[in-house]
């Protein structure tokens, strides 16, 4: 990075750190923060929509649909995350490739499963074997978003399901009395009111999601915890210009500050959101707001 970094052994402490903290691996480390933030930004809305769909399905009056929703919630919530991330992602990837294989290589006669191996034709590979590394990484990122969304969607579905049931029955009865259809009651009365009941549960999920990103490395994506472990580990002078002892504590301290910062920002945001949602609601929070404005 700087011109004086050629021979770090001769540098003073400050200059040594300025070189150390700006070398190639550290840029990868800093980049991984953006990766994690991007993952959160994409996953949260997708997981929420999975959850919404799951909750809608679970309370559907069409029995098979309701079973489907409930089965989704029960199964995904019951499977440990780490098992899900180790096996489901590989299965998902193989599922995509198998579909492409069926469409793109109809003449292929060899079995797709040969012993332990999973073999599809070259054209069905996802991404193609010839793609540059960034395509592979983007695809891995996409798989991560889908997997996170399915897992957290199931939890969100349960929270939203509870939120929908918590809306006072009187509200729905009133809507029916006004002659609203089931659909109208759902979208105009139930959905706007359920958020306030679901938000505490959803905010928990959000906090857990922030901290769940180390699971990413199981998918080959290098997240901040991976890099902190890798960079903080003991480095001997044979393999680096910047030898140091076990510095993992300092790196994890940095992560702690990052996570606490994320928590604080989230709390502030969620508090504002809660205030907005409580407005005009038949809850104690809504009552408080009403008193504030009339006082």
């Amino acid at each position: 990075m700087f011109s004086y970094c050629a021979d770090p052994d001769t540098l003073g402490t400050f200059r040594w750190f300025s070189c150390y903290l700006t070398n190639g691996v550290h840029w990868s480390f800093y980049l991984s923060f953006l990766k994690v933030l991007a993952l959160l930004a994409v996953t949260a809305p997708v997981a929420l929509s999975f959850g919404f769909a799951g909750a809608m399905a679970a309370r559907s009056h069409i029995l098979p649909l309701s079973w489907l929703g409930k089965a989704y919630i029960a199964i995904v919530r019951g499977v440990p995350d780490i098992a899900f991330f180790l096996f489901f992602v590989i299965a998902l990837d193989q599922g995509f490739e198998w579909l492409r294989h069926k469409v793109l290589c109809p003449d292929w006669t060899d079995p797709v499963r040969q012993g332990n191996d999973f073999i599809v034709c070259q054209a069905a590979k996802l991404p193609l074997g010839t793609s540059p590394e960034w395509v592979h990484e983007t695809y891995g990122f996409f798989l991560a978003v889908v997997t996170f969304s399915i897992v957290f969607g199931a939890f969100a579905a349960n929270v939203l399901f509870g939120g929908m049931r918590a809306v006072p029955r009187a509200q729905l009865e009133t809507a029916e009395a006004y002659g609203m259809t089931r659909r109208q009651t759902f979208w105009r009365i139930l959905v706007p009111q359920m958020w306030v009941y679901a938000l505490p549960g959803l905010s928990n999920l959000w906090m857990v999601l922030i901290k769940a990103t180390p699971l990413l490395f199981l998918l080959g994506i290098e997240d901040i915890v991976y890099w902190a472990r890798e960079l903080g580990g003991t480095k001997t002078s044979r393999f680096t210009d910047y030898p140091h002892g076990d510095w993992r504590m300092w790196y994890f301290l940095g992560l702690l500050i990052f996570y606490l910062g994320m928590t604080r920002v989230s709390e502030l945001g969620l508090e504002r959101l809660m205030r907005r949602l409580s407005h005009g609601q038949a809850t104690s929070g809504g009552e408080l707001l009403r008193k504030e404005t009339t006082a």
Partner: protein, 249 residues
Amino acid sequence: MKNLILTTAALALTAGIAMADTVRMGTEGAYPPYNFINDAGEIDGFEREVGDELCKRANLDCEWVKNDWDSIIPNLVSGNYDTIIAGMSITDERDEVIDFTQNYYPPTASAYVAAAEGVDVAGGIVAAQTATIQAGHVAESGATLVEFASPEETIAAVRNGEADAVLADYDFLVPIVEESGGELVFVGELVPLGGGIGMGFRESDAELRGKFDEAIASMKADGSLNEMLVKWFGEGISTYDADGTVVTN
């Protein structure tokens, strides 16, 4: 017309071959000197150098991929990369799931490292990396095994007293012991484990394995593999004869 079809067929065939020529090499990137991430953030080490040379000899276009050790075999058999080159010892258990080339790193010893002399490695608490031959050996030796996901953590366990000793590849431990300033020492005797280190392939991928096998043999024959072994592991390392037999130095 016939010509046109033939040309198209030929084109399609060559396209197919060209596509198959990119080989993705899976490694862990956390086990110096075999493989590690250098200051620039790239994969480096003995295996990087050997792998690049093998690809050149086999006329293949290679790309390096990092993967967690725990899921390194499942990702190979499901086709996310084409070969494992990650300091993986050739063992019977692994051979049932994947296929290995001949070894490009001779069978060598593993060693115990502890914080002080006179530690009982057969009865104490010994750290090893999960799913390695060393972990298997500790489990059978009668010592209490504590497993860690990465090599780094096994060393840290000895430093902070969580484990009495660590069992790992001798060559991985040498630079760590040297730079510890007497804090860590080798204890007990060397343990010969495994059948050397080879590249792992899917069992159905015999053709690719053959190419690499051939390239390894040619590197053994002209001595270039020995040069790299000495460069990365020092003069004491076992090397290969021109016909591939192991010479202990």
